[in-house]
Amino acid sequence: MLHAVDDVSFEVYPGETLGLVGESGCGKSTVGNVLMRLLPRTSGELIFNGQDVFTANKTDSFNIRKSMQIIFQDPYSSLNPRKTIKSILSEAYEIHKLAKGAELDKAINELCDMVGIARSLLNRYPHELDGGMRQVVGIARALSLKPSFVVCDEPVSSLDVSVQAKIINLLIDMQKKMDLSYLFISHDLSVVRHISDRIAVMYLGQIVEISDTATIFSNTMHPYSIALLSAVPRVDVDTKVRRILLKGDVPSPMNPKPGCRFAPRCWMAQDSCYDNTPELTEVAPGHCVACHFARQSRAKIKDAAVRSLSDN
C-alpha cells in the first residue's frame, strides 16, 4: 500500500499563491496531479468555488476543467513534438469549441501578445524553441481558457537561472493581470519564497508546517523546515549559516510507521515522537505546525547546528 499523500488539507484563496515545498518523494507533485484529476484519490474532497470537484457530473466537471489548469515541469515533454506552437495553443479552443477560423487566430494572437510569444514562432515546432520559450508556451496554453486557479508543478526547475527569473516574473505578471490563484509546487525554497503569499512545507506525504511566507522564513518552527531552510547553499559570501545536517535519507512512503514521520531523521526527536503522531496545530494565527515540540525548536537550533561550511 503506497500512501503517497496522507491526510493533506489546505485552502487556496482567490488571487493568492500557496507555495508547496518539499523534497522528492514527499508527495507535492501528487497533490497537484490529484487536484487536476490526473491521478485518482483514495478519499477526501476538493471544493472549487463551493462545488465538489470529484463528485461533479460530467458537464460540471468539463466546465471546472476550464477554470483549473496546470503548468508542467518539463518544457520538453509537455509540448507535443509533432505539433506546431499554433496548433498546441489552439487545442483548448477546439476542445471547448470556443473559436474557429479568424476568431481562433485572433484569440491566439491576443494570447501570444499577453505572454510575450513572437507571432513568428507560431509556425515553429517545439524543438526549435529554447527551454524558456517552451515554458512560456506551456503557460500560454494553461492560460488560454482564462482559468482562475493554476497548479504550477515545478515550472522553473529545469530552466537556467537567467531564464528562470523571466518565467517567475511572467507568472507574477499574469497573476496580477488575470487575478489568478496559484498552487506553486517547488523544491527550491528561494523561488517559492519569491512568489508565494503562504507556504506549506511537506514531508513524506504530509504537511508539517503552513504559514505566511514571512513567518516561514523568520520564525520556522518545525524541525524539518528549519533544517531544510538551513541546507540551502547561500550565494552571499558574508552570510554565515548555521547548518543542521539531517541524518540519513528520506525514507520510502511505503507503509509508514506510526508516530511522527520525521522522527527517525529529526535532530530533536524524543521517545514519545515515535508513538504519538503530531497533529497540525495552530501555534499562532495562521501558523500551523505538526510537531510536539514546536515551541522549543527555535531555542534548540544552536545546539544542533554544525559549524557552517563558510565558517571554515
Partner: protein
Amino acid sequence: MNSKLIFKRMLHSKFFMIGFITCMLIVIFAVVGPSFVVYDAEKNSLTEQFLKPEWLSNGWQGHILGTDELGRDEFTRLVVGARYSLAIALVVTVCSAVLGTILGMIAGYLGGAADAIIMRMCDVFLSIPNLILSIAIIAVLGTSTTNLIIVLIISSWVQYCKLSRNNVLVTKKMEFVSASKCLGATNSHIIFKEIFPNITTQLIILVSQQFGNVILVEAALSFMNLGISPPTPSWGNMIAGGRTYLTTYPWLCVVPGMALMITVLAFNFLGDGVRDVLDPKRT
C-alpha cells in the same frame, strides 16, 4: 525533424538510395509493364513450349525470357505476376498496419482488460508458426485471392500491434498528454491527435520493412498452391511450375526466383534506409 534534414539524410544513405530506386523501378515495371506486353499471360501455345530466352535479338516482340511448359511467354507472366504480388502486398500491408495499429493503440492507451485481451491474442498468433497457420486457414476456407489476403493479414498484424502498443505506452506518460487531459480532451482526441502523430515514424519504418516480407510469404504460399492458383501468374506458382524442369530448362525457375530475390532485397534495403533516415536518435 525538418524536411531539409530528412532529404539530406536520404541522399546520404546508401541503403535508402539503392532500395528506393530499385523499388521505384519495380513498381513502374509492375504498374506500366502489363499494358505494353504483346503476349497473353494465361493463353497456352503448345507449339512454342520451352523456347530459350532469346533476349533482345527479336526486340520487344520476341520471347525475351523464353517460354514455359505451356508455351506462355515468361516475360509477360513475370510482369503480370509482379502486378499481382505488389497489389496483394499493398493491400495486406495497409490492412494489417491499420488493424494492428488501432488494436495496439487501444491496448496501450486503455490498459487493463482491453490490453490483456489484445496482448493474449497477439501471443496466440505469435506462438503458431505463420506458415502452418496459413495452411490450416486455407485448408478450411479454400484457395482464393481473398482468402490469401486474409491469411496474410492475420499473420502480419501482430507486429504493428506490438509496436504501436509499446510506443503508446511511452508516449502516454508524456506531460503533453496530461496537459491535453487537463484541457478537457476526450480519449479519442488524445489517441488520434496527440499520440498517433508521435508513433508514425516507427510505423513507416515497420511498413517498409514488412512489405518485402509479405511478398515473400505470398510467394511461398503460391508455391505450395495455397495462394494464387494457375493459370493466373504469380512468382510463387511460376517457381513451383518450373521446379520440375530445373535441370533441363533452368530459366523457368531462375527468372521468377531472381525477380523475387531482387524485390525482397530492395524492399528490405528501403526499410533499413527509412529507419536510418527517420531515426530521431541519430545526431
